[in-house]
Structure formats: structure tokens, C-alpha cells
Subunit: 494 residues, 2 copies
């Protein structure tokens, strides 16, 4: 019997994980221990984790961080001049000239925060970003957690809620649970490429009122896991909706660096807000999030992100800052953020390599997404909306009724059962749509497409074999055609 | 008017920071901008932050991390062989062989967790530590936050509480506030070198019951900020107390690597617990904390720590693990932890350098602490208990009644007022005792003594000048004598 006789009810309320990643890890361990399986290794493409899939990091980021950690190598001249200069500059911004000191302010190193503000200003065509509105933290989940902690009401009688897209990033539902905020779902329109629909926002809001007090609307643009990129018209509608309904607009914009759909472009919510008249641009409370876990950086293991907070009541914002002040933020991911927002420019020694590496990532992403989408639409029992940005595809599963029944019997979601079998039989781990918040009778899987093309080939072959073994030969033949396409892409790229 | 009309009452309840560090930073910025001050720079020794004070990092840690970040430098052979081997080994433990991937499990990289368990087992003379009881997180504050979140009760009618030493680490009170736990103070005995007193524990507990439901007792050993090292007898008493009263024992043991008091040694609470009979060793719930921000590592900016959880009810422990699972932990500090718990050994190429650097840190710490303590006891208006471990001294301020009155008039704590003046007039930032949770009429300051000896000289001179300008000459003369002592220490050290 524990001294903690009764665990915090909020902790008890955190939804249980699907266990798929744990299953994949267990099978990997079994193979290591010598168990024979019909596959040599498990491929896990359930997360936004390009380095796990063996995509290479951006050299400039790694060189600068290595030099900051061990400044002796700056002296050796083996690193490019701009790497050494940047490392010196960043060390100069660290207290005591060391990455081992605490951060100069709880909100981030002033030098880095200034770089971020300049980046935002440039990105948004001159709409000024102010350092004092920016807060660094250990990744966008941690930043969101702060905002949720601010909004939650531990003593109020009505629960507070956040309008949340279905599907949403798979890390979001447990965060809401932990903060004690109610997830108020609004459905994205799959048949329109996962667009936001204004009528659906109103429906969701109205259905929530009474049940809880909606405080904010969460937007993921470009969409995680949908790959959808919102257009200006929709964004204006969302802003008007937030303004009219008195909601804070939480814009997760982590995939802003990876739009590959030819006719789409990323526009930030802040930019659109400041194109609108003052009744909006001076009042709508906007928090936007970005991170070094973005597809082009892919530095998920470093854990670093920031939020920019616009139009928040200064007293409320002060409390948000105080939440951050309870623990000093980590240094290295701040330095990585500095590199991300202020990369080498034309004429710098590292410019060519840097640009080529970014181009390679985007080309791989774009070709993989196109190829995988076409393929998935040919797999029996699957259909897939094309993506235009970000790291995931999110195909629909048309599951046979027997499997849905079987899942019910086993007490798991049918998409989880599908994914379990896929890991067990083919050694392929995808994310189950229920992790992205989706409910019954609407089954999807989440597939990270930023991986070396050969890995993607293997993944598609396994998927096809699993979904329809008899058509494997056909599919493999199709694969070969696609490999040719992909070969051409690679030639073009190099 | 904000959409967040009512900020989470828990956030509103976080105590405001003293503002001393912000004041120090502002004056530093003014000097940079050209404002003339009676000092050239502000020295901030208010935190446990040796690198800020320009103590050098441990080379082996930095070399390994740099090589993991940018594996190209492994090929260059300029780094010692054991650095290159360790980097390869650690990269092999990272998914996809990259520090940019998410952690293999939410609790930490299995390879690192295993190293930690082996370290604990060795340290405790063979008392077995099990990997599954260890959880990594971004520093011991974050680890504590998890435990506090588990214990807090958002819905219960009675508040829950934690017995907390006075003084306690200055980061602790805001963490308790944020979790909604009541700080139940127990006084350490200053006249006995800040020892824990059993009668006082009973008094504190009894006075709390009714007001709140005490869930845990927090111990800092070696003491932050007191420098006290507990003896086995006291530790057994504390364990019996926790057992009898049904409290979880939270043992912060971050300063275990830095005992310098000749007659003292660090013994872990776990070791003592397992020396006791089964009615204790199999029942008392113990969570112990360690971190790479320990004095010998001093890698505060990396943010990494772990907790070992003993005898916790498995269902409760599962919930603690689930809290960690809401966000993937950062990789590099895990690798730094691996180096800390598994350093080079005799015969390894880096052994000599590593040992010498650790010895230098401990010698500096020990001589500085001795020197500063003797000095502070000679400063009019101050008295200081000797430290035996850790990074701080915690002298008492005997403030003149006028100053206490003046502080009351200004609405600040008198120790904060003292420290404000000290920053403004002498450019020296110390921590105010009220940040360590201490109440009225009992004024102290917190001084980090792990700094280069020349910096400490300057600090003591400024302190003396501030407390008693007329005796400055005397003091400076004493300083010179001490510098001689310190010179001898250094010769001995090198």
C-alpha cells in the first residue's frame, strides 16, 4: 500500500498509450536476442523522427554545436570559417562563455531570442516581431504545456476546453488530459484534403458549450498529420471565428519549412492577422509555435522550440512567463534554433553544403510523399489524400467488418489492432489514427515519409504484402516502376 | 481584456521571484551600454552555476558529446581513443545512430539507464539497483515536478503537503506552488551545522496535520544550500520517521560527488535503508535524485538528471512513468549522464586528465569554502557555519534594525533589500535566504563558492567593503594572507 493512496486524478485521466511503439521495440529486442522473424528488422515510421529513419542531420548545425561544446576544435581550423565564427558568437552569448551555464534568462538567451525575432520579421514580410514576445522551451510540446497550464482551471466548477482538429498531432491529446483541459473535437474535411471547415467549427463550439468553457482553438498548419496547407481565405475565417467567439488562437506551425505541394505556400497566422484591420490585428490573441524538430532540421532529440505570443493581456502574459521561470531552459537546443533561423547565406563557406542538404531533404520528402500516396491509393483497403507539406501521410483504412468486430472483442481500437498485426507480421510500425484523436468507425494510419527512399520502398512492399499478399507480385512490379521514378528524382537531385 | 479571463489559480499561486538575478543582468547590460559604475562587472554567485563563474568543464564529457554530435571528428584521430570509443558506443545506443532521434524509451536510453543502475549498485556497496526503477528527465527540478504532479490532488478537499527543510534549495518553493502542494517547513538546526532534528520533524508534522495532508518528506543531503552532510544515525531516524508517519522519502542527493569536509562521507539514503531490517527496506517509499548539475560536472546548461524509485506501489509507479511518457526526453544530457556515472578508469587514455580535472574542482571547492567561511566569520554583521559538501555557503546576516524597518516600509524582505544594495553598490549578486524558503527575522544569503580563486577574492573584498567600508583595509590585508593560502593550495593541486 503506497503513501500516495490516491494518485492525482489529473494523472489518472491521461489516456493510455496504444503500446505500438513499445511492441515494435520489444520485437526489435527479440530479433537482437536471436529470435527468428519473417523480417530482419522492424521499421518504425510512426513518429516524426527522420534521424531514426537514418536521414542525415544538417552538417552546419552539428558542427556549430560540437564546436560550442568543445571549443578546442575551433582552434584546429578543420571546420569551416563560418562555423567557427558562429560558435564563438554563440559562446559569447552564453554566461561564462560555456554551454554548461544556466540560460541568461528563463525565456531564453537574449542573442538567440533576437535572432528568432528577426527571422519572424523577415518571414512575415516585415511584420515586426518583438523579442519580449518570444519564449524558448524544450520543444513545442513543452511550450504548449505551459499555455495549457495557464488556461486550465483547477478550482473552477466548469471544465475548460480547447477546440482540437481531428486528426490532431498524436502528442496533443495526452497533453490536454494532463492539464485537465477538455478536448473539443472539430473534424477536418478529409474529402477536401483535410481542410478546416467553418460550419464545423461552429458546430463543435456549440456542442461544447454547456459541457465546458472553450478557451482556445488549436490549429496545426501545415497539418500534422494531414499534410494540408491552409489558404489565406480559410485562415481569415479562422481568425474571425476566434475573434467573435473569444478564443485564443494556438497556431502550431512546426512544418512551415517543408511545403512541397507545388501550388501551395506557407503563410503564418501572424502575417494574415496583420493584413486584417486593427479590430483583429490588435485584439486577437495568437500564440504560434515552431521547433527544431521541423522536417528540414529533424533535431527531435535535442528538444527545442519557441512560441511567439501576440496581443495577450500583459498581466496574463506575465503569468505565462512566470511558469517558464520555475526551471532554467536548456542551452544547446537554443543554439540549434539560432542556426535554424539564421542559416548560412550566399557567400558563406558553408552555404553550398547547407543549401544542398536542405534541398536534398525537401526533394526526398516531396518525392517520397508523392510516391507513397500513389502507392497507398493502389493498395486494396486503403485510400490516401495527397500531402502538400510536413512529414506525414495519413491514409484511410477501409477495414473489413470482421476485423472491427474482432477488435471490439479484444477491447482495442480496430486501427490499433491493424497496426499491431502489421508490426508482428511484417515488422512495420505505423501510428494508429486513434492516437491522433480520431474516434470510432473512422480508421487511419500515420506514416512518416521522410526516410531514405530505399527504406520507403521496403515499407511500401511490406504494407502491400500485409494488405493483400496475393497481389504482392503486382505491387512489387509497381514498386519497381516507382523506384525508377525515384531513381530519376535522385539523379535530378544530385 | 484577455480570452483567458481567469488564469489558473495554481499559476497565480506561484511565488514571485526576488528579482535579484534580473537586477544583476540589468546592471550588466547597463555597463555594456557604457554606464559608469564603481565596479567593472557584476559577479553573480547566487546560483549553483560553476561554468558561469568560469570554472572549466570536464574535458572528457565535452569531447564525447562533441563527437556524438558531429561524428566526423571521430575519424580525425585528434581525440583520445576512449573518447572515440565511448562516442561510438553511445551513438550505437541512439535510434538511427543519431542524437537527433527521439529517445528510445520515454524513461531514457536503455544503455544509459543500465549504466546508471550499475553506478548506483557500485556506489552502495552492492545494494542492487534495477534499471526499471530509474527514470531520466531534464534535471532534478523536472524529475521532482513529476513526483509532485503525481502527489498533488486537484479535486480533493484537503490540500496535500510536503515536509520541506528550512533552508531548502531555492528552486523548490516555486515548484511546490506550481503543483499545488503545501510547503510544510521544518527548521534545520543552524547551531548544529544545519543538522536535521527529529523533534522538529514531529513538531512540523503535527502542526501541519489538519491544515493539510502531508504526503512526503523532502531531504537535501548533502545539503543545498547548507553544505551539511548527514550521518548514518540521523538518516536512520529520518527513515523511521517516514515509515511511522507514512511519508514518501524524497532524497535530493545531487551534491553526493562533492564532500570535502575531511571527517564526513556521503552515504546514500538507499544504502542506509537497505542496512535496516525488512520492515523498512521493503516498505519505505524512497525516491532519490541526482543530476549532471552536480558540482564536479557542473553541466547545468545541459539539464539532465535521474530519479531512482524504490518500494513504490507498482500501480502508482506506472502513473509516474506515464507522466514522463507525455514528452520524449532530450538525448545529449543522457549521454553526459552516462559519462558521469561511468567515467574513464585507470589505464584509459583520458583517465589522468579526467582525474586531475575532478581533483582540481574538489580542491578549489574545498579551499574556497574554508577560506570564505573563515572570512565571513570575520565580516561584521555576518556569521557562517562551515560547509562540508556541495557548492554553497549559507551565512547568517545580522541586519541592523533600521534596515529591517526600511525593508518593511518598502514591502520587501530584508535579505532581499540587503542583496539589492549589494548588487547596486558593489556589483555582487548573492541569493537571498527568503528564496530558500526562510521566513522573517532569520536572514541569510546564499553564496556559490565553486569559482576560480581570484573571483572569490574579488567577491570577498566586495562583501567586506559593503558590510564595513572602514575596515576594508584590514580585510584586504586578510585577503592577501588568504591568497597566499590559496596559492599554496594551487601549487599542491597542480
Amino acid at each position: 500500500m503506497s503513501c500516495v493512496q490516491k494518485v492525482n486524478s489529473r494523472v489518472l485521466g491521461i489516456r493510455a498509450p496504444s503500446g505500438l511503439q513499445a511492441l515494435a521495440a520489444r520485437i526489435t529486442e527479440e530479433i537482437k536476442q536471436g529470435t527468428l522473424k519473417p523480417f530482419k528488422r522492424v521499421i518504425d515510421l510512426s513518429s516524426n523522427d527522420p534521424h531514426r529513419a537514418e536521414m542525415a542531420p544538417i552538417s552546419f548545425v552539428r558542427q556549430v554545436l560540437a564546436a560550442c561544446l568543445y571549443p578546442e576544435i575551433i582552434k584546429e581550423n578543420s571546420l569551416p570559417l563560418d562555423v567557427r565564427q558562429r560558435a564563438r558568437e554563440l559562446l559569447g552569448a552564453c554566461l561564462g562563455g560555456s554551454v554548461g551555464s544556466y540560460s541568461a534568462t528563463p525565456y531564453g538567451i537574449p542573442h538567440v531570442i533576437k535572432s528568432i525575432a528577426e527571422f519572424i520579421t523577415g518571414r512575415d514580410g516585415g511584420v515586426k516581431s518583438h523579442s519580449e514576445n518570444i519564449i524558448f522551451s524544450s520543444g513545442s510540446q513543452k511550450t504548449l504545456e505551459m499555455v495549457f497550464n495557464l488556461m486550465a482551471d483547477v478550482e473552477g466548477k466548469t471544465q475548460r476546453g480547447v477546440l482540437t482538429p481531428m486528426p490532431c498531432p498524436h502528442t496533443l491529446p495526452p497533453l490536454l488530459d494532463m492539464s485537465g483541459l477538455t478536448l473539443v473535437p472539430y473534424q477536418l474535411k478529409e474529402d477536401r484534403g483535410w481542410a478546416v471547415d467553418l460550419d464545423e467549427l461552429h458546430r463543435a463550439l456549440n456542442s461544447a458549450r454547456g459541457r465546458c468553457e472553450p478557451m482556445a482553438i488549436y490549429i496545426s498548419n501545415p497539418g500534422n498529420p494531414t499534410g494540408h496547407v491552409q489558404d489565406r481565405k480559410t485562415m481569415k475565417e479562422v481568425i474571425c471565428f476566434a475573434a467573435t467567439e473569444g478564443l485564443v488562437l494556438l497556431a502550431e506551425e512546426v512544418y512551415q519549412d517543408s511545403v512541397y505541394g507545388g501550388d501551395r505556400e506557407f503563410i503564418s497566422y501572424k502575417k494574415v492577422l496583420f493584413e486584417m484591420d486593427k479590430s483583429f490585428s490588435e485584439t486577437v490573441e495568437l500564440v504560434s509555435f515552431h521547433s527544431i524538430s521541423s522536417p528540414c532540421m529533424g533535431e527531435c532529440g535535442l528538444r527545442g522550440g519557441y512560441m511567439e505570443v501576440i496581443n495577450m493581456d500583459p498581466a496574463v502574459f506575465q503569468h505565462l512567463k512566470q511558469l517558464q521561470a520555475t526551471s532554467s531552459p536548456t542551452i544547446l537546443p537554443q543554439l540549434a534554433l539560432d542556426v535554424m533561423v539564421n542559416p548560412p547565406t550566399l557567400g558563406d563557406p558553408s552555404y553550398e553544403t547547407y543549401s544542398q542538404e536542405i534541398r536534398h531533404t525537401l526533394t526526398t520528402l516531396s518525392h517520397n510523399a508523392l510516391r507513397a500516396c500513389e502507392f497507398l491509393n493502389n493498395v486494396p483497403g486503403m485510400s490516401c489524400q495527397p500531402g502538400a507539406a510536413g512529414i506525414f501521410l495519413y491514409p484511410c483504412l477501409h477495414l473489413p467488418p470482421q476485423m472491427i468486430e474482432e477488435a471490439k472483442g479484444l477491447g482495442v481500437e480496430a486501427d490499433v489492432l491493424y497496426c499491431q498485426r502489421l508490426v508482428e507480421e511484417e515488422g512495420l510500425c505505423l501510428g494508429a489514427g486513434c492516437e491522433n484523436g480520431q474516434e470510432d468507425q473512422n480508421y487511419h494510419v500515420r506514416l512518416c515519409v521522410l526516410a531514405p527512399p530505399a527504406t520507403l520502398d521496403e515499407v511500401l512492399t511490406r504494407l502491400c504484402s500485409f494488405n493483400h499478399p496475393k497481389q504482392l507480385l503486382d505491387a512489387v512490379q509497381k514498386c519497381s516502376v516507382m523506384c525508377l521514378v525515384h531513381y530519376n528524382c535522385r539523379s535530378e537531385d544530385s
